[in-house]
């Protein structure tokens, strides 16, 4: 089927008509986060009640993609950002469904389900007033949490596939010019200028050419690509089709992590619909241009997020990177010119085409244009996905949007860039976040994970964590990465166990240099970063472990002991219930004791005690 722009208008109009008959629209977030908090059950139950009450013709209940505030899921939004209810059905499904119905029937706002301010007195009705959302500039995420990701008509009604139509009328060189001038840089890791990449691929000799989307979001702590693929899959497709046209490719691939089944599902449905509507296939919008997209599921290997490894994986081989003396834009997938961009990068493209490169370039900083989606997680109050203009400071992101540190503990560091990045300490909180400033601090943007750490997180343990991750995920091709990271891990493990020696820090730094110099792919080259950045900013913590055999944060099990301060213990018995090995005993309302022989030093009692009665030695 070949679609015309008039038909596009008609579909939009039809959709509008279809929705207009409803008095109310209720959107229930069905992203992975909210689903795990029970949103599917809530959807079913609420839908049943609506039918039972005979309101099915008046109230439209729909499933949307991720709304961002995953911490407070399941999220329910009425109308266009009129009311936001949080944690709906989490404690009492029947009661909360009743409250939703009451809001529908009598416009009564359920105070209980509203988002509350820090002081517990302020209530927020519209999501637009909640600081978490108010500080954002949602462009890529604009339709996430708003549209039904499985309904192509709604995407079209919200302006979808207009950019494609517009692009197909423009000369391919001009499109690449636009992307270049917009200043768009790759959202997946290195921040390479997207337009320049497109240009090289277009100019490369050889046919066919391939368009690839990297949805192998392996950086632990980052989930924006998952949210986009699940919440607005057509935006990714539209960006890729435009890219295909500009570069001169007829075949696209989306490589999705094995751990993201819902994303695969939604993308498959979206592709099927796009084919049916003629956005994929032959003669798209009567332009003579032909394009199709295939989904490729990964196999649970972190290294496959690296461009050449990803391509090997699609070719049906083990996902090992290869040397890039010849760039993948010239010889990539099956030795043919291939243009790989991250999912979020592709989703930016329709916006640039629709609104112009000048608009995109007007957002952000000198070297980093546009907005960036970050996943704000760890010890921050409002965990979730946020989209802000490049250049917002870490402080604004963590304290204004994120609401500060959980339990009002002390901020220690924020980790960005995944296993290739580093930890940034409190003294740099004012730093504007963009590609270049993060690199300057010894970290990197990566795909946008921001993992906030507080005083209860040990930086040596964090270094050990990343090394464990990398030992497991190194593909094993290059000796410096395979063996070197393992040796670094042994040293840090030793330090955490209280057996650190003088000279360990220097030894780690030496290994780091060798790994950086001797590894083929960027993942290997950057593998020492988490260690180097923690040494750089938290050397005193390393010294405390090595010289004093102490873990100041109270994490490294071999160096700590938990005990109860009898004067402070009220005998509330909370710790006895939470203790996984049941090694805390005592009578109710009397001071408890910990059996040191049984204690596994997990710290659960310490984190749960409301009376500060547990001490770490």
């Amino acid at each position: 089927m070949t679609i015309s722009p008039e038909q596009l208008d008609n579909i939009a109009l039809e959709y509008k008509k279809k929705v207009k008959i409803y008095d109310k629209v209720v959107k229930i977030c069905c992203g992975t986060g909210c689903i795990s908090s029970g949103s599917l059950k809530l959807y079913d139950r609420f839908k049943d009640i609506i039918n039972l009450e005979g309101l099915a013709t008046k109230v439209l209940v729909k499933k949307t993609g991720c709304h961002g505030l995953c911490e407070r899921g399941p999220i329910v939004v009425f109308g266009d950002d009129e009311i936001l209810y949080q944690s709906v059905g989490k404690r009492n499904l029947d009661e909360d469904v009743r409250l939703l119905l009451e809001t529908i029937k009598s416009n009564k706002i359920a105070d209980k389900l509203l988002y509350k301010g820090d002081d517990k007195t302020k209530r927020y009705v519209s999501p637009l007033d909640i600081p978490f959302y108010a500080g954002q500039n949602r462009i890529v995420l604009s339709l996430n949490g708003t549209i039904d990701p499985e309904d192509i008509d709604e995407y079209i009604q919200r302006g979808g596939y207009r950019a494609l139509y517009k692009a197909l009328k423009i000369n391919t060189d001009e499109i690449i010019d636009w992307v270049q001038k917009s200043g768009l840089r790759g959202r997946g890791g290195g921040g390479f200028p997207t337009g320049a990449k497109w240009r090289s691929c277009k100019d490369a000799e050889g046919q066919p050419k391939y368009i690839l989307a990297n949805g192998d979001e392996g950086d632990p702590g980052a989930f924006m690509d998952r949210s986009l693929m699940e919440g607005n899959p057509h935006a990714v497709l539209e960006g890729m089709i435009i890219g295909g046209y500009a570069i001169g490719s007829n075949q696209g691939y989306i490589y999705v992590r094995d751990e993201y089944p819902l994303a695969v599902n939604r993308l498959l449905k979206a592709i099927e619909k796009a084919r049916e509507y003629g956005f994929l296939g032959r003669n798209i919008f009567n332009s003579g241009f032909e394009f199709d997209i295939t989904i490729f599921r990964g196999g649970g290997a972190f290294v496959c997020g690296e461009s050449t490894a990803l391509m090997s994986s699609i070719e049906g081989k083990a996902g090992e990177p290869r040397a890039k003396y010849v760039h993948t834009v010239e010889k990539g997938l099956w030795e043919k010119p291939s243009n790989l961009n991250n999912v979020e990068t592709w989703a930016c493209v329709p916006h640039i085409i629709n609104n112009g490169w000048e608009w995109f370039a007007s957002i952000g900083t000198q070297g980093s244009k546009g907005t960036k989606v970050f996943s704000l997680v760890g010890k921050v109050k409002n965990t979730g996905l946020i989209e802000v203009p490049m250049g917002k400071s870490l402080k604004e992101i963590i304290f204004d949007l994120g609401g500060g540190i959980q339990g009002d503990k002390k901020f220690k560091a924020v980790q960005t860039g995944g296993p290739s990045g580093g930890c940034i300490p409190a003294e740099y909180l004012e730093m504007p976040v963009d590609f270049d400033s993060l690199t300057k601090l010894g970290s990197m943007m990566g795909s946008g994970g921001m993992i906030v750490m507080d005083e209860r997180n040990c930086m040596v343990d964090v270094a050990r964590y990343f090394l464990t991750f990398l030992v497991e995920e190194s593909c094993g091709k290059c000796t410096p990465c395979r063996e070197g990271v393992r040796r670094m891990h042994e040293i840090v493990e030793r330090i955490c166990n209280g057996n650190g020696n003088k000279g360990d820090i220097e030894h780690l730094e030496e290994l780091a240099r060798a790994i950086n110099l001797g590894s083929l792919c960027a993942l290997g080259q950057s593998a020492p970063n988490p260690v180097l950045s923690t040494i750089k900013y938290f050397e005193d913590e390393y010294r405390a472990h090595i010289e004093d055999k102490k873990c100041p944060a109270g994490v490294c099990k071999a160096l700590i002991k938990f005990s109860i301060i009898p004067e402070k213990c009220t005998g509330c018995t909370l710790c006895t219930h939470e203790c996984p090995v049941k090694c805390i005993t005592g009578e109710k309302k009397e001071a408890h004791t910990i059996d040191q022989a049984q204690c596994i030093r997990c710290g659960t009692c310490y984190d749960n005690c409301r009376f500060d009665a547990i001490k770490i030695e």
Binding site: S36, P220, G221, A222, R226, G316, M453, P580
Partner: protein
């Protein structure tokens, strides 16, 4: 284990016998048998005309593929950065203790295989546990017992 050649052929045909889809084929076979049986691996390699060693390389490179039989339910404890910071390792410890298996092993009754995973992408709900296709957010050592009993005695059997 006896493998059903008919089923293998269906899977081969689904991908047009294209060897670049070997990983996808393995994933489909695993869905059927809960692991990749050796005979199935051999059969696929033969049909795709690739050496057994190449097929074995792919099967062992990717974590998603298991050459050992797995339990009825697979428990994935997420150890991504956010989960690590919010106590993921303690959750894994609890599962190991309660199920009396080590990470990577299957319980004696064949009910559970315990695995860790390096990020499931629901970091806002750390620490996360995925059992088969169901996610459990903000888990604690107390919920570990609940999760196990839900799958042991619940309607999911």
């Amino acid at each position: 284990m006896e493998v059903d050649v008919g089923k293998l052929n269906t899977i081969l045909n689904k991908y047009g016998g294209d060897k670049s889809y070997i990983l996808a084929m393995f994933q489909d076979i695993q869905k059927e048998y809960r692991y990749l049986p050796k005979d199935a691996l051999k059969y696929i390699c033969d049909k795709l005309s690739i050496p057994f060693s190449k097929g074995y390389e792919v099967a062992t490179f990717y974590k998603a593929i298991s050459l050992k039989p797995r339990g009825k339910h697979t428990i994935h404890v997420c150890l991504g950065t956010a989960c690590h910071l919010r106590g993921g390792p303690n959750i894994l410890d609890s599962f190991e203790r309660v199920l009396n298996v080590k990470k990577g092993d299957t319980t004696g009754d064949g009910m559970f295989t315990l695995e860790s995973v390096n990020c499931l992408g629901a970091c806002a709900l750390a620490p996360l546990v995925r059992v088969d296709e169901k996610d459990f957010g903000k888990t604690t050592s107390v919920t570990v017992n609940k999760i196990i009993s839900e799958f042991k005695d619940g309607e999911r059997l």
